[in-house]
């Protein structure tokens, strides 16, 4: 269970990105985060694994306060939180398998991983994860030789290498075309349903939200403006979330 309590983030320039956001994500739920660009979705997700340090508020994960964790504790927490990014964030010049093995860095001993030595078990695991998302034959390709959809699958395989209890997906399909978007979302759905991994996923398209999410939270200018089922978003709610000028497409 992930509890977010009064989470506030003010950036150095004084921009209020999150304003006392509170909600809970029960274990195993697929939660979508929606909102306009700049509404604080990315900041929210990055506060959860402290890629961004929140200004105030708490994030409790199974009772542990992530915001108060020391560097060593944070490392142990982060390795249980997989993350998938809009721009995939693969290391382009490294091979696909090296990128996937990167997901184990929180587990392996730093001294050995510095000389690129991973346990045999991890390498086997990497092959399994790549096979699962259908890119096993690309293991020794350079990451930038892959298409966008394939790269995002590498990203998912990397997150799965962490044996995550939760996956944070920051606009995982925003850089992909609609057909590929569904295939990527299906992988996330599969991980959520079969492995019981909690998924917190920010999304742009409402149809994807309707199709995959169990629940929706919406942000507008850093404030939580909606928390409920996808089907509850009617036209009035929609305008509250996206502003009065917005129009529904799709």
């Amino acid at each position: 269970m992930l509890q977010i309590i009064n989470l506030t983030k003010i950036y150095d320039g004084g921009v209020l990105a999150l304003d006392k956001v509170s909600f809970e994500v029960p274990k195993g739920q697929f939660t979508a985060v929606i909102g306009l660009s700049g509404s604080g979705k990315s900041t929210l997700l990055r506060c959860i694994n402290r890629l961004i340090d929140p200004t105030s508020g708490q994030i409790l994960w199974d009772g542990t306060d992530i915001t108060a964790a020391s560097q060593d504790e944070l490392r142990r927490i982060r390795r249980k939180i997989g993350m998938v990014f809009q721009h995939f964030n693969l290391v382009h010049r490294s091979s696909v398998i090296t990128n996937v093995l990167g997901g184990r860095l929180g587990y392996v001993n730093p001294a050995w991983s510095l000389v690129n030595r991973f346990p045999k078990k991890d390498i086997e695991k990497a092959m399994q994860q790549m096979a699962r998302v259908g890119i096993a034959d690309k293991a020794n390709y350079r990451a930038d030789e892959l298409s966008g959809g394939q790269q995002q699958r590498v990203g998912i395989a990397r997150a799965m290498m962490q044996d995550p209890e939760i996956i944070l997906a920051d606009e995982p399909v925003a850089s992909l075309d609609p057909v590929l978007a569904h295939s990527i979302m299906q992988y996330l759905e599969q991980i959520n349903k079969e492995d019981g991994v909690t998924v917190l996923c920010s999304l742009h398209f409402l149809d994807l939200v309707h199709r995959y999410a169990d629940r929706v939270v919406a942000l507008n200018e850093g404030r939580l403006v909606f928390d409920g089922l996808p089907t509850e978003i009617d036209d009035i709610k929609f305008k509250e979330i996206y502003g009065q000028e917005a129009e529904r497409v799709g």
């Binding site: 890629l51 939180i81 993350m83 990014f85 587990y107 991983s113 346990p119 962490q162």
Partner: protein
């Protein structure tokens, strides 16, 4: 102007435009005037003048040098000499002018008059000589020395006429000799001494540049990370952490020095007996490796218990000591083996010397390295302790602790600085170099703690960043040429001083270029790797290094290029390489030889340029 355009009066805008146009042209005129004055002063200061060019003396010497440069002294022929002699009386004998009938079948000379007083003019005419040949005309007294009177230059029929002045000699009764010599090239051309010397030096130059680049690259890679803003800005530490780091460093260095001495002593006593020595050489790395393997398990799912951590720490320290011992032994045997191999390897003896030198270098650097590593380790331990203390004590108590730690670390820093001042200026007064700085440092520490009492953490990373940048910028502004002068003083003249000077300059220049590449990498992979729970070092290895490999290679090549060019002149101050020959020949006015060296430099730089551009294209 904008306001006037709205004015109802039609004249006004026009007038103002006119005015502004005038102001504009006046400004332009003044600007041109200022530029003119600046350049006029520039001409005066740099003494631009064509007066000297018009002097014939200048033109002649210019032409002479230019012609010499156009005839590089690369190839020469073996030469055959053809002397032709005619007897000559100086002064004239008693019986009047002697009559000699020259043999007209071969080359012959007629001297008019056939006898003369010393220092008088005579005319030498030659017939049937080698056509278009040149050579000296010598006067040969009975002693047999050649006194050159002048030169001959035959025409296409082998004839020449030359008027020369006789030397000032004691009168001699019998006949002396006038000898004309023509020379002819024989056989194939071969390289001159200058050419072979230049070849040897240009090889030295290229390798000088190679070594300097290699040394420089190794040092500048880690430094470039310290000078990269995007890596350093997240590095923060609470006050207590910073202070404890500062305090722990000198202790660490001291412990490291002691440990290195211990290992060195142990290796020396082991080396008393060859059997023990070799056994130690084999056993110490194996045992060290095994200990390290045990202390660093590949994967750890649960945090280890405290006692386990202590055991591991002890094991790691043991492994490190064993490793250092092994390296000391290795350096000893490298020297022994290398020196022993020098003789039997003959032409490849330099390989043996190389191994011996490596052993020497490892031996010399090991103590320093151990001290630094131990300082760094204890420093980081201090930082962790400080962070832990800050997190586990109430806020008011933290401030008290911070005051104590801040004052003592400030004092330690300033005392270290005082020691440097003492070393450089030899003041000999501990009030100025020890007690004074200690008190000042403590006060500064207190002020820093007081001013930062509200902050949770200090931007340590950015401080390191700025310090590194400043040092790099200062070093970079000192020309390698000037560094060479200092290294020549330390290492005596020769290419090694040049290597060290160029290396230092390379570090300063490359670290800056590299760090700018690090700053321009994509941040995405960085955050992705951080999100997996990777440590800072892992993030650098997995997210930073793969991104910077191509620009690093490209900059390294570029730097090698620069180093080749720099190494050609570093010999001017005794730094080895071809510059030494070039300077020598210029000073001796031997322009034909200097021309060879200039040619060699041009060829090498052009070839290097071509190779590096080819390699860059292929790799990047």
């Amino acid at each position: 102007m904008n306001a006037s355009s709205n004015n109802s009066s039609g004249n006004q805008p026009q007038k103002s435009t006119k005015e502004s146009a005038m102001v504009h042209s006046v400004r332009l005129g003044l600007g041109v005037l200022v530029v003119l004055v600046v350049y006029a002063y520039g001409f005066q200061v740099t003494q631009v003048s064509l007066k000297e060019i018009n002097e014939t003396r200048r033109q002649e010497s210019f032409l002479r040098i230019l012609r010499a440069l156009a005839h590089p002294d690369i190839l020469e022929y073996e030469r055959e000499e053809f002397p032709v002699e005619v007897p000559f009386y100086m002064p004239c004998p008693q019986g009047g002018e002697p009559q000699t009938q020259p043999d007209t079948s071969g080359p012959y000379m007629i001297v008019t008059p056939a006898c003369a007083e010393a220092r008088s003019e005579i005319t030498v005419e030659g017939f049937n000589f080698e056509p278009n040949a040149s050579g000296p005309i010598n006067f040969v007294p009975p002693s047999g020395v050649n006194l050159q009177l002048g030169n001959l230059q035959t025409d296409s029929e082998g004839h020449f006429t030359s008027t020369v002045t006789l030397p000032r000699r004691q009168p001699v009764a019998e006949a002396q000799t006038i000898r004309a010599i023509t020379r002819r090239n024989v056989g194939m051309p071969h390289f001159t001494r200058t050419a072979t010397d230049t070849w040897a030096k240009i090889i030295e130059t290229v390798f000088l540049a190679l070594l300097a680049t290699t040394f420089g690259v190794f040092l500048s890679i880690p430094i470039s990370f310290l000078a990269a803003r995007n890596l350093m800005k997240d590095v923060t530490s609470p006050m207590a952490g910073v202070a404890l780091t500062v305090l722990a460093w000198p202790i660490g260095i001291f412990i490291g020095l002691q440990a290195a001495r211990l290992a060195s002593l142990a290796s020396q006593s082991l080396n008393q007996n060859a059997l023990f020595g070799v056994a130690g050489l084999v056993v110490s790395p194996v045992a060290g490796w095994a200990l390290a393997r045990w202390a660093l398990p590949q994967v750890e799912l649960q945090p280890p218990t405290r006692s386990m951590r202590v055991f591991r720490l002890i094991a790691l320290l043991g492994a490190a000591l064993l490793g250092v011992l092994g390296l000391f032994l290795l350096s000893f045997y490298a020297r022994q083996v290398g020196l022993a191999l020098e003789e039997p390897l003959k032409a490849f003896g330099f390989l043996g010397t190389f191994v011996a030198n490596l052993g020497e270098i490892v031996n010399a650097l090991l103590t320093l390295l151990v001290a630094l590593v131990s300082g760094a380790m204890l420093g980081s331990l201090g930082g962790r302790m400080g962070t832990w203390v800050t997190g586990h004590t109430p806020k008011t108590a933290v401030l008290g602790v911070n005051f104590i730690l801040g004052a003592s670390s400030g004092a330690v820093l300033m005392v270290a600085l005082g020691a440097v001042v003492e070393w450089l200026y030899e003041l000999g007064n501990p009030l100025y170099t020890m007690w004074g700085p200690a008190i000042a440092g403590a006060l500064i520490g207190l002020v820093v703690v007081f001013r930062n009492r509200q902050k949770d953490s200090l931007p340590v990373g950015m401080t390191i960043y700025y310090v590194t940048r400043t040092i790099l910028n200062t070093l970079r502004s000192i020309e390698a040429f000037i560094m060479a002068i200092i290294f020549v003083a330390l290492l005596s003249t020769g290419p090694f001083a040049g290597v060290m000077a160029l290396s230092l300059h390379t570090v300063a220049a490359l670290a800056k270029l590299y760090s700018e590449q690090v700053e321009s990498i994509m941040p995405g992979p960085l955050e992705a790797i951080r999100a997996t729970g990777a440590t800072r070092l892992q993030t650098i290895v997995y997210a930073v290094i793969p991104q910077i490999v191509p620009p690093y290679i490209s900059f390294t090549m570029y730097r090698w290029d620069i180093n080749v060019r720099m190494s050609t002149i570093i010999g001017f101050v005794g730094g080895g390489g071809i510059g030494f020959l070039l300077q020598q020949n210029i000073n001796l006015l031997n322009y034909r030889a200097a021309s060879v060296q200039m040619l060699a430099i041009t060829v090498v730089v052009a070839v290097m340029d071509f190779i590096s551009s080819q390699l860059r294209e292929r790799v990047v």
